[in-house]
């Protein structure tokens, strides 16, 4: 059972956990990514713009969720990714996995966010305090995190 959403609106974590909380669930692990506000001066991020590839995005996320369900015994998993213009402190992404056993839920959650980082067509641009807009560059550490799962 999987729930995949790409949306402009924020998500309701309590409602998402409730959706995953079926009777056979022993644990729900989740990860929320947020817009950091940790730089000062000219490069302070005033907003994040999230662009994606409608149609392909949903398919890519469903494939990532299916891969998690194949690797671990999950009762359900959820991926929600926001798009559009987000402000510092806003939620960007929610991934969660529920299972009878905690290790499966925890590992699947780490897997979901690692694969999402390199396997789904989203692009971030940062609006900076100096008025410029800069596309975020992909990080080698994200590729390494995905590669580690391919072991």
């Amino acid at each position: 059972m999987q729930r995949i959403l790409v949306q402009e609106e924020d998500f309701d974590v309590a409602a998402e956990n409730a959706w995953l909380a079926t009777p056979d669930v022993g644990g729900i692990a989740s990860f929320i990514g947020t817009v950091r506000a940790d730089r000062d001066g000219a490069h302070r991020v005033t907003a994040l713009r999230l662009e994606h590839y409608p149609g392909m995005t949903e398919k890519a996320l469903a494939a990532i969720a299916a891969e998690a369900e194949a690797r671990w015994e999950l009762t359900g998993c959820t991926i929600i990714h926001r798009v559009g213009r987000l402000l510092p402190g806003d939620n960007i992404v929610f991934v969660a996995a529920a299972s009878a056993h905690r290790a499966a839920a925890l590992q699947a959650t780490a897997f979901l966010i690692d694969w999402l980082k390199t396997g789904a067509p989203f692009w971030k641009a940062e609006e900076l305090a100096n008025g410029e807009t800069a596309w975020v560059e992909a990080r080698a550490s994200d590729d390494a995190a995905t590669a580690a799962w391919k072991g």
Binding site: L50, P121, W123
Partner: protein
């Protein structure tokens, strides 16, 4: 053939989407890139550093070697940065 551009590739090409009649000789994504670079200075600039460009053929991630035979849409974009 529908060709899509995202992020800074969209900005450099100056279009999110274009419809192109491709020469039959084009077999792979790499062939298509070489041909697109000849279509305008903006296309040439967008694909100048091919190492930075990723692609999808019919909404599946591809590589320069991926065949474009029978494809309906091909997208070009920088490495993804979601999450």
């Amino acid at each position: 053939m529908k060709i899509l551009y995202f992020a800074w590739l969209r900005e450099k090409v100056g279009a999110a989407e274009e419809e192109r009649d491709l020469p039959e000789a084009l077999r792979t994504v790499a062939d298509l890139v070489d041909w697109l670079k000849l279509q305008s200075p903006r296309h040439e600039a967008a694909f100048e550093n091919a190492r930075l460009v990723r692609c999808a053929v019919d909404q599946e991630f591809g590589t320069p070697d991926t065949s474009i035979a029978g494809a309906r849409e091909i997208a070009f974009f920088p490495p993804v940065t979601g999450g």
